[in-house]
Symmetry: C2
DNA sequence: AGGCTTAACGAAAACGGTTTCGTGTTAATA
DNA sequence: TATTAACACGAAACCGTTTTCGTTAAGCCT
């Protein structure tokens, strides 16, 4: 077992000073060619690599970024994470992930774990708990300390920082518009309770598109499910008591459930009833028929978030006091057409 | 913007030495009650938290663990990661993830990025590139340096280290046995080319179960697809030219594709043909009919891997030289029964 | 009063680097 | 020959902690 070698050890072995070794390895002009060669050869032989922790301490920069998300076993977040990791790695940053599990407390704990020098900045999507509690002090503390923060998808306007959003409203709008173009009039929405800003935005887009086409909004055609443990009976009841020819679902799971159910009832997709679901995930792709989906481009979102964060991180270190200026970027969603709609 | 306060600043402000502050905050007996109270109050007021990087340097322990996986947008890996993160966090460790994207080079680069002090140990699943290249020098270097390493799922026996495996052979065996118990005789296997140790193990289990039941193995009933971009024609051809009443698939995607296809051909699942697929993911759950699956218990796997790693990490630091002893743990898979088989 | 213990605190080394600012030697110049 | 500039290297500070080992002064004992 050969432990990593340090500058000090090299210096002692070669009977020079630590500074000489450090400079030689950086190819400094100060050091003679002879000495440099000798030191570099020795270092290479022993596979010397500077210790990241020491460098972090010296530079006051860790080259780590912290990502806190509600869930990792979730296609959308995973996708965004992929984008973050990809871009960050390319820029020489590593990514530390913490999962809040949609709990306010865990989110706070995770932030505190990382905030004491472990990372140069944060990228996060708020936990359901935090959104429900409407308490953002932990974020405030971070930004007050001058630590860069980028919020994505599940954000809040109570905090001043960079943000990356999906045009949920616009996505729902386009989906409903597509239904209307296909001649559908009895358009339903299957959504969650209004905890999340996303569901609200999607519902808004749904309403707007209908209003825009002078279709009266029938509140009975809006089904709000309390959580992700889908209640089959509620869906059953919903489709029995309403005449519906198109359904917009705020997530894949709801869509798949509804599709399976209406097919069992003998309805044909897309002839009798069309479906569009939010978030183009694996389920949409492999559903039968394929589910036309509003794709969120998570990877792009992650890349954008990482880019914004790293820019702030590298800027901050140069300039001390400066007017902070924050931006909000919108990632456009697109409709991926599949068999569940008439194209 | 109030930057984090340091011991030095507290010391200067209160006109005591740094050591006194440090001790006071640790409630050392050496410091008088008066002084302690004063310092603690001051520290609390300015929300003092020790700098993690400095502590890491001092302790030569980062409390970070590195996870390198081939892919993160992949249900199984995500699940394992969840288990790792959960356990690690509970023990006060953070997790740095790097995605190798199934490339040998990226795997090597990622390891090198983290190996210079950024993490205390590694948990990884080998990239396809690495398995194909059969080159494990980067792992050897890590273990030679005494850095703990735990391999999971996609491993190699060329490296001595802790391992966590899934009983792929046994899982396939049980699946085929179930088919046989249901009276099926013409049992097919849909798998990948033999790059991965997992596919090999699964194929072995398949063959063993058939041999065990004195069913002759018909090589035509084994379909090997070159990659995940499923070739519909190959599947079509396969089901047309073979009489088959049960199919074991080495992953969900293959299973879903095959199920959709045979259903289009008018066959009924599970009456005419049964399906079992590896890795109980989201697709199996929401397939129509639901796909009976061999569940891998990724979360448990991750927890076990993290536990093994952290034990090694904390042990190493105590004891210097010691007989290294490595273990291999097997996570048992279980069959989740759904509509694609007769139960 | 002199010697002792003990309480309360500070100085300094250490972790592993980087970087600024000397400093001694040599060779070129006046 | 004395002065100086260039060269090659080293000492030391610094990043923020922890921890060992003094050091000082007060209080006690004989």
């Amino acid at each position: 077992m050969k432990k990593k070698i340090t500058l000090k050890q090299i210096a002692k072995e070669l009977e020079v000073s630590i500074s000489t070794v450090s400079k030689a390895l950086k190819n400094s002009e100060e050091i003679s060619a002879d000495t440099k060669e000798k030191i570099q050869a020795f270092a290479k032989f022993y596979n010397y690599k500077p210790n990241n922790v020491a460098i972090s301490l010296k530079n006051k920069r860790t080259k780590n970024i912290g990502v806190i998300i509600p869930d990792i076993v979730h296609h959308f977040f995973t996708t965004v994470f992929r984008g973050i990791e990809q871009y960050a790695n390319k820029q020489g940053y590593n990514v530390i992930v913490c999962v809040s599990d949609d709990s306010f407390d865990r989110e706070v704990i995770n932030m505190e774990m990382l905030a004491n020098g472990s990372v140069d900045g944060f990228i996060m999507s708020l936990s359901a708990g935090t959104q429900r509690k409407n308490d953002f002090n932990h974020l405030k503390e971070i930004t007050d300390q001058g630590i860069p923060l980028v919020l994505f998808d599940r954000t809040t306007d109570k905090i001043d920082c960079d943000k990356v959003l999906i045009d949920d409203r616009e996505g729902a709008f386009k989906a409903v518009q597509k239904f209307i173009k296909n001649g559908r009039k009895k358009i339903a929405l299957v959504t969650t309770e209004n905890y999340f800003s996303v569901s609200n935005a999607r519902e808004a887009g749904y309403r707007e598109a209908l209003a825009n086409a002078d279709i009266e909004i029938d509140e009975h055609r809006i089904l709000k499910l309390p959580n992700m443990e889908v209640d089959e009976n509620a869906i059953h009841e919903f489709f029995n008591s309403n005449r519906i020819d198109a359904v917009l679902c705020v997530n894949e799971i709801f869509a798949i459930h509804c599709m399976n159910l209406v097919q069992k009832k003998g309805m044909r997709i897309p002839e009798d009833i069309s479906f569009i679901g939010f978030t183009d995930g694996i389920l949409s792709k492999y559903a039968n028929p394929g589910l036309t989906a509003i794709a969120q481009h998570g990877v792009e979102m992650g890349e954008v978030a990482a880019k914004m964060l790293i820019e702030k991180v590298e800027y901050e270190s140069d300039d001390e006091e400066e007017e902070e200026t924050y931006q909000t970027k919108i990632i456009e969603s697109t409709i991926i057409e599949r068999g569940s709609t008439i194209n």
